[in-house]
Amino acid sequence: MSETHEASVVRENLWMKALRTAGVPLLSVVLAMIIGSIIIKASGMDPLLAWGALLKGAFGSPDKWAAGNFREFGDTIGRATPLAFAGLALAFGFRANLFNIGANGQLLLGSITAAWLGLVLAGLPGVLSIPMILIGSALAGAAWAFIPAILKAKVGAHEVITTMMFSWIGLYLTSWIIAAPLKDAAGNSQTPMLAQSVWLPTFDKILPGLFRTPVNAHLGFVIAVVLAVVVWWVLKRTTLGYGVRAVGFNQWAAQNGGISIAKTTVYALCISGALAGLAGASEVLGTNHRMFDEVSAGSGFGFTGIAVALLAKSHPVAVVFSALLFGALSAGAGMMQLTANVSDRIIMIVQALIIFFVGAETVITWFIKRRQKRALEEKGATDVA
């Protein structure tokens, strides 16, 4: 009797845990969409038409799928890819209680490294050059995070300030490199087009039987998914991951337990930087095949990555799904403008609301706890009776 009771308690706790980890983000998305609908309605447009257009723009339609045309879905995956890498970067930092707000700078360093190495290694076959470029970009991202990491570890300089400052330096450094040494002969604000040998193949090249028309989704997404699992495994099963989580949970307790805060901080921030660097590389090798000056391109994947990681509650595998959601929102926004006349700014509002509600989790957990407490009180009352 007591055994089953305990089992039910365990089940209940697992259920509550699952609810807290997945329920709050899901609820946030739903609430954000409801408020978004009210705004659309208030501006005189049709919310159902708008969300329908968004879905169509983000995933396509069955008749197109039947013809092997997955352009819209490919667009969503293509947009989700840099967000997944950047989300992983932020999530890894969050696990060590580090807010790598300047991930965008590390990402740009990864991009420029890929744009440069891609030109240098154009003669090699892709199987050799692509891994070399990816490693180079990861190292560049890690290097850009290293100085803030050392400053944090040695003198306690807050990473929010230092990584942000380095992000600005990275922005204008890459902007200068694109304007001067790596300038494309054809024009301003971009580096030369890379040779096809270093392009990450798109899904229609990998699986021509399934994807019968060109899509933007490329191998980078597969790499991001694999990395998400690897990051999850590192955090869960390795000494390094244990240290990262311990420092993130309570650094003084971790130190008491023999874990070096300084060392773990440096490792965590550099790994975060490396993941951000890969986001930049995948965008250059997979999507644009050159680097555009971020000052005029305004992609800001490193910043959206913050939102992606928050929505995923820093769970590496959940980051992939979170990135897909943000990818779908941005891919579908164009169709929403076109068929429902709804400004794409609405999508930005919805994204902001999602983050707001995830941030408001404390309110929701408070709500849950209050319910539990009241339930216990009622139970107590019936017991007495």
Binding site: E12, L19, G23, L26, L27, V29, V30, M33, S37, D46, L48, L49, A50, W51, G52, A53, L54, L55, K56, G57, S61, R71, D75, G78, R79, A179, A186, G187, N188, S189, M193, P214, N216, T287, N288, H289, R290, F292, V295, S296, A297, G298, S299, G300, S330, A333, G334, Q337, L338, T339, A340, S343, D344, M348, I368, R371, Q372, R374, A375, E378
Partner: protein, 358 residues
């Protein structure tokens, strides 16, 4: 009580799914009715544009292109549409969506859309595309590049500046015979403005000294102001800025120092700056609206000028010089006559303005 919370959550999820499913269903049926509802049934010709990340309201390229389409809507009775882009990833999506919705021609605003247009044009050969400020290498039959002879507008601005610095119709004009140029970045359109400006000034005032400074950026008003003050300290009393937002800082330098007159760029900046009347002499303008309109008109007549790069100059009303506005009464007739003569000469082909500095 836990159960009731669970029920609430479940209800939420069900509601969400219902919304999604409903939305999915409605999307298949409603769009057709909404599009036919807003357009006159006779018109099947639809032209559209995709903005760069500046979006509508930039008082520059995007707004000018849209003005061209709006004119086409009124004059030619066609349907128009504009999609704005938040980042570079939106270019391709927006262009493709417009092409699949039957819009043609579709205009792309700005050099950064070159790759996106080239890629999509090859997969959708039935849609025509126009690239504003894009010079395509070997454009296919369904692509046209719309470029401008900025040097010709710069030349006219140079004549105004070159003659004004010698004149004395305003107390700010000094006797040092120096004029200034502020460039955003040293890219071809800006360099063409500069080359034309220098040539125009020298054509009417051979001994004039033209000082050129580059900000390296189009969005830095502080830098623009700094460069403006630097030019003024070197004796410049007329300053021409081809520098986007940076140029607004240069304008401020001229206005606040009360030592120089300003010449605007791309649009008639008398209409876009705040209280510019006492400082802005004129503007060298790019008539993107005229260029867009002319391409739409040709396309509607079945003669889309694809497979080439067009350059719009004075002769095509593609560039020009803005009115003098508040300075109209002050500017001597000799300057106005010189500008008119140069305009006629350039249109007739007797004067060719250089694209680069000699």
């Amino acid at each position: 009580m836990k159960k009731s919370f669970r029920t609430i959550c479940a209800l939420f999820v069900v509601f969400a799914m219902a919304t999604v499913v409903l939305a999915g269903c409605s999307s298949t049926s409603t769009p057709s009715s909404s599009t036919t509802g807003t357009t006159p049934p006779a018109s099947t010709f639809k032209a559209a544009m995709v903005t760069d990340i500046g979006g509508l309201g930039d008082k520059s390229f995007n707004d000018l292109s849209w003005a061209g389409l709006e004119k086409a809507k009124t004059d030619l009775g066609i349907e128009t549409k504009v999609l704005s882009s938040k980042s570079i990833a939106d270019y391709e999506t927006n262009l493709t969506n417009l092409a699949s919705a039957g819009f043609s021609p579709v205009f792309a605003v700005g050099f950064l859309m070159t790759d996106a247009v080239s890629k999509i044009a090859s997969t959708t050969p039935d849609t025509n595309f126009g690239g504003i400020d894009i010079f395509f290498t070997n454009p296919p039959k369904n692509v046209v590049g719309l470029n401008f002879k900025e040097q010709e507008a710069g030349y006219l601005a140079g004549i105004v500046a070159g003659l004004a610095t010698k004149a004395s119709f305003d107390p700010r004009l000094n006797a040092q015979n120096v004029i200034g140029f502020v460039g955003g970045m040293p890219i071809p359109p800006v360099q063409r403005y500069e080359a034309g400006f220098v040539a125009g000034a020298k054509s009417v005032n051979p001994t004039v000294k033209v000082i050129s400074l580059y900000a390296g950026k189009f969005d830095d008003q502080a830098k623009g102001k700094e460069l403006g003050l630097s030019l003024i300290s070197q004796g410049a009393d007329v300053v021409f800025a081809a520098a986007g937002q940076t140029g607004i800082g240069t304008f401020t330098a001229c206005q606040q120092s009360k030592k120089a007159l300003f010449i605007g760029v791309d649009t008639d900046q008398f209409l876009t700056l705040t209280n510019p009347g006492d400082t802005i002499l004129t503007s060298a303008v790019k008539r993107i609206d005229n260029a867009v309109f002319s391409v739409v008109k040709k396309a509607k007549d079945g003669a889309f000028p694809g497979g080439q790069n067009l350059t719009f100059g004075l002769a095509d009303d593609g560039v020009g010089i803005a009115p003098y506005h508040d300075f109209d009464a002050k500017v001597p007739q000799a300057i106005k006559d010189a500008v008119d003569k140069a305009t006629a000469d350039i249109k007739a082909g007797t004067v060719t303005v250089p694209e680069t500095l000699k």
